[in-house]
């Protein structure tokens, strides 16, 4: 931070502190000291999604447009009725509102939102894919989800010029039916086009971000973007709530994996190996960042793959989801075990029903002991992370 910025923040912190001294008794807005302000600033602004050098077409608008069409394409599925949008419903913030996803069959985990998917390092709750383009290739051929095949997808690309023409323009001639390597490449290109579309689903100017601008600029009008309750919740978020341990950075996720100990949907012992199995599958995936279909096989993504630690502590660990737009993506947790944000905050406040970690597992969680007012404030803060101001044209199939 430059000295001027530090000075302005210092003034802002003092000003807020004065307000706090008066306001705390009436449960008004809290004050933030310099250390707290420094923590808050690490959460905003959120820049554009990081580059993905494993996908040459990641930021190609033509690929994004094609990917948007493919996203709504139901004919890729075995029964012609399931598309990506079946579970990742645009009108429902790219979730389905259900605890467990259902494609051709009922799955095992909750549908995560696609908001800010382009910021993730790993994909799926267990991180079994390491790029946004490799991720959709699995549901396309999963018997539980879409049940399609890469050969069937290539057939459809050849048969429908609305798909095939823009595809060939971007990626070259379509493969012949007996060209298995070419069909593999076309399959990958479908994933890379889908990723180009999904990278555009960005949420990054919520009321919280306006508040942070107000801190940086010492602008009280902008700081008013957060209600007093949300500001109190923010203080808990960066303090006694310990939320930012895992929900760190401007996307409110470390992108890594942690054990919550939360019981499966039907109760009982933990059953899902999660990251432990996810790493196995990732390393065996021919579409990972070191594989033949990656456009950069020796970059940071490949290095991350090469250096992954797969110890016993990874058993039962799930990926930290983003908190941006979290108020709109109920239910919560990897199996939708929690119906509301209030339920989630109550869970972390007591850890009731949580399986304690073993000797080999991280000891991050401990009951927060938040009272009812603090829990409500924390929910108010989480609700301030909502921004769905995206081009509405991205939420429907593109026009022909």
């Amino acid at each position: 931070m430059n000295p001027l910025g530090a000075t302005l923040l210092g003034v802002g912190a003092v000003a807020l502190g004065v307000a706090s001294a008066v306001g705390q008794q009436a449960r008004g807005a809290p004050g933030f000291d310099a250390e707290q302000v420094a923590k808050i600033l690490t959460h905003s602004p959120l820049g554009p999604p990081p580059a993905d050098p494993t996908n040459t077409w990641a930021d190609d608008p033509r690929a994004a447009r094609l990917g948007q069409r493919l996203f709504f394409e139901r004919r890729f599925s075995a029964n012609g009725e399931v598309s990506c949008a079946t579970c990742h419903v645009p009108d429902r913030n790219f979730t389905d509102g259900e605890s467990i996803a259902t494609g051709l069959q009922r799955g095992e985990r909750h549908t995560p939102t696609l908001w800010n998917a382009g910021y993730q390092r790993w994909y799926f709750w267990d991180g079994r894919a390491d790029s946004l383009w490799a991720q959709p290739l699995q549901p396309l051929e999963s018997a539980v989800e879409m049940g399609g095949s890469r050969a069937g997808i290539a057939d459809l690309l050849r048969e429908d010029p609305r798909l095939g023409a823009p595809f060939a323009e971007l990626f070259g001639p379509l493969p012949a039916p007996d060209d298995a390597p070419g069909i593999d490449r076309a399959f990958v290109h479908v994933g890379k086009a889908l990723a180009a579309y999904e990278r555009r689903l960005v949420s990054r100017r919520a009321p919280f971000d306006v508040f942070v601008e107000g801190l940086r600029e010492d602008d009280s009008d902008k700081r008013a973007a957060l209600s007093p309750a949300a500001q109190r919740g923010l203080q808990i978020f960066i303090g006694k709530g310990r939320c930012r341990m895992c929900h760190g950075g401007p996307n409110f996720s470390d992108g890594e994996f942690h054990g919550t100990g939360i019981a499966p949907l039907g109760g009982g012992n933990l059953t899902d190996p999660a990251r432990y199995r996810g790493i196995q599958r990732l390393l065996a995936d021919p579409f990972n960042a070191k594989g033949a279909f990656s456009d950069e096989r020796d970059g940071q993504a490949a290095l991350a793959l090469e250096t992954l630690a797969r110890g016993p502590e990874t058993w039962g660990e799930f990926k930290t989801p983003t908190l941006r737009n979290v108020a709109l993506t109920a239910p919560y947790m990897h199996q939708g075990q929690m119906a509301t944000l209030a339920d989630v905050v109550r869970f972390y406040s007591t850890l009731e029903g949580s399986a304690p970690p073993g000797h080999h597992q991280e000891q991050v969680l401990r009951p927060l002991g938040l009272d009812a007012g603090e829990q409500a404030d924390l929910v108010a803060f989480l609700e301030s992370l909502t921004d769905v101001d995206v081009d509405p044209a991205l939420l429907v199939p593109p026009p022909d």
Partner: protein, 167 residues
């Protein structure tokens, strides 16, 4: 510098036992002044006074191993160590005399209060300058980390450690 050996020869001759017995021998013909000519032997002591190149670890952080046998010098890229972004280290291990040591190195890190370490096992390769290149590190959470340099020579391993607090 090329004159100096001639003067030296004349001086030695003047100190001989019978200074009138024989005339001093003529000076040796001067070496051709070509850039590629090898320097004459007496030049070497003079060359030693020229400033030596700074060691590769100059300016690096220094961490003494826990039993005091090794002086671990290290830099990070980027610096300072970032939160939840990949980073690399360059490490040199010096002995008590300040000389590069012939040792093996492993690098790890942990968050003692959390009971966990990194989600990575860094890749370590030796550098041509005698140091180690350590890639693939990631401190994915804020808080207090301990960074460990485990130095092994023969059957003995000794740890050097440094605290890194990310907020």
């Amino acid at each position: 510098m090329r004159i100096r050996p001639v003067v030296l020869a004349l001086t030695l001759a003047a100190c001989g036992a019978d200074r009138y017995a024989e005339p001093p021998p003529p000076p040796a013909p001067e070496a051709p002044r070509t850039p590629d000519a090898a320097p004459a032997a007496p030049i070497a002591p003079i060359a030693r006074t020229a400033p030596a190149a700074p060691p590769a670890w100059q300016g690096a952080a220094a961490t003494l191993s826990n039993a005091g046998h090794w002086d671990v010098r290290w830099t990070s890229e980027p610096a300072p160590i970032p939160e939840n972004e990949p980073f690399a280290l360059t490490v040199w291990v010096l002995d008590r005399d300040g000389e590069l040591a012939d040792v093996d190195l492993s690098v790890d890190a942990a968050m003692p209060e959390h009971g966990h370490g990194m989600n990575r096992v860094p890749r370590i390769v030796e550098r041509e300058d005698g140091g180690f290149q350590v890639d693939g590190l990631l401190f994915h959470m804020p808080g207090r980390w301990e960074l460990y340099f485990d130095v092994t020579r023969g059957a003995l391993t000794e740890r050097a450690q440094v605290e890194v607090v990310l907020e």
